[in-house]
Symmetry: C2
Subunit: 192 residues, 2 copies
């Protein structure tokens, strides 16, 4: 009955996400988005609504994907390895040749969160999710013996959640993997 959509909605959302992730909200123009997705303004608008709505959709897809990735990472049997792996992946991002975009939630914590309650809520929720994953992993590690420190799991998680955006900012600013690994390992050594 109707003409079918010629493009893949999810694919277009993913392309838009890459731009927002890289350039931020303000730094991204509609021209950037049409170029990246290959769509015209009207298709973009008809499908996703205005710029902000598109941004939120893209950001939410990012958040869901990252949450899923994290979940998988923390399924690692050895809890201490899981935590180390989680951070190692961030640093790997710095080592890979291409320009690193860091973590979008961290970027948004800086760009929009201070003046946009909707974004701030999402950012806080993301950090909380990670902190909880840390805390759970630490408790598990303390039970299984992979984490020998008897320190309070919640406090240890609060320490790690500070390191997370720290690393992400460093990666986005162009720090080398080498210079980050040393400091990270030192911090993780407190788990032993």
């Amino acid at each position: 009955m109707a003409r079918p959509q010629e493009f893949d909605t999810n694919d277009a959302l993913g392309k838009a996400l890459q731009v927002f992730w890289d350039k931020g909200y303000e730094g991204t123009t509609l021209a950037d988005l049409t170029e990246a997705t290959g769509l015209s303004k009207s298709s973009l608008y008809g499908t996703f609504g205005d710029k902000r709505t598109l941004f939120l959709a893209a950001y939410d897809s990012y958040r869901a994907a990252r949450a899923q990735q994290m979940k998988i990472t923390f399924q690692q049997e050895n809890a201490r390895d899981a935590i180390a792996l989680f951070f190692a992946k961030i640093i790997d991002d710095a080592a890979s040749g291409s320009v690193s975009k860091g973590c979008m939630s961290t970027n948004q914590a800086v760009e929009l969160a201070p003046h946009d309650a909707v974004i701030r809520e999402r950012v806080e929720s993301d950090f909380k999710l990670i902190e909880t994953a840390f805390a759970d992993a630490i408790k598990r590690g303390q039970e299984q013996g992979s984490i020998q420190s008897k320190q309070d799991a919640q406090l240890l998680a609060q320490m790690l959640i500070i390191a997370f955006p720290g690393l992400q900012v460093m990666v986005r600013a162009g720090a080398s993997a080498d210079s980050l690994e040393g400091g990270l390992n030192m911090m993780l050594s407190i788990l032993d």
Copy 2:
């Protein structure tokens, strides 16, 4: 002979800085700047040049002021106290009622540094300066006994320099002082 400037250049630069610091580069319009400084476009332009030049001047004044503050903080006799004080000041920023702007270099690491070599150089230089101050303080603390850890001072400094932007991002995103203190103290405990 000539009509004297009616405004204080440094004062105007400071006002402009506040806006850039709060809203970022892209998020700040010339209208914001004229409103904050009370100057007209032509005065702003004649005194400081274009937006980017003004931004760099404001940013550099920020960097100089912060470097000076840091220097004073690290003059604290007890090296371990100096480090703790340095971080405590960041968290105090979160506790003070007004909206926290975080650290401008951290903000710029996210906003402009990835696509602007000039800014990136400044950001990297700032982080390096802090890392060096950490390393020096740690060595000093190890000598004087205020820092008991025998770990390599450089590695410890690399750990702390990861925490720095981490805390700043958290503060800017609106984290409470309480939730940050625990994690911070845990990290600092590695110095003991």
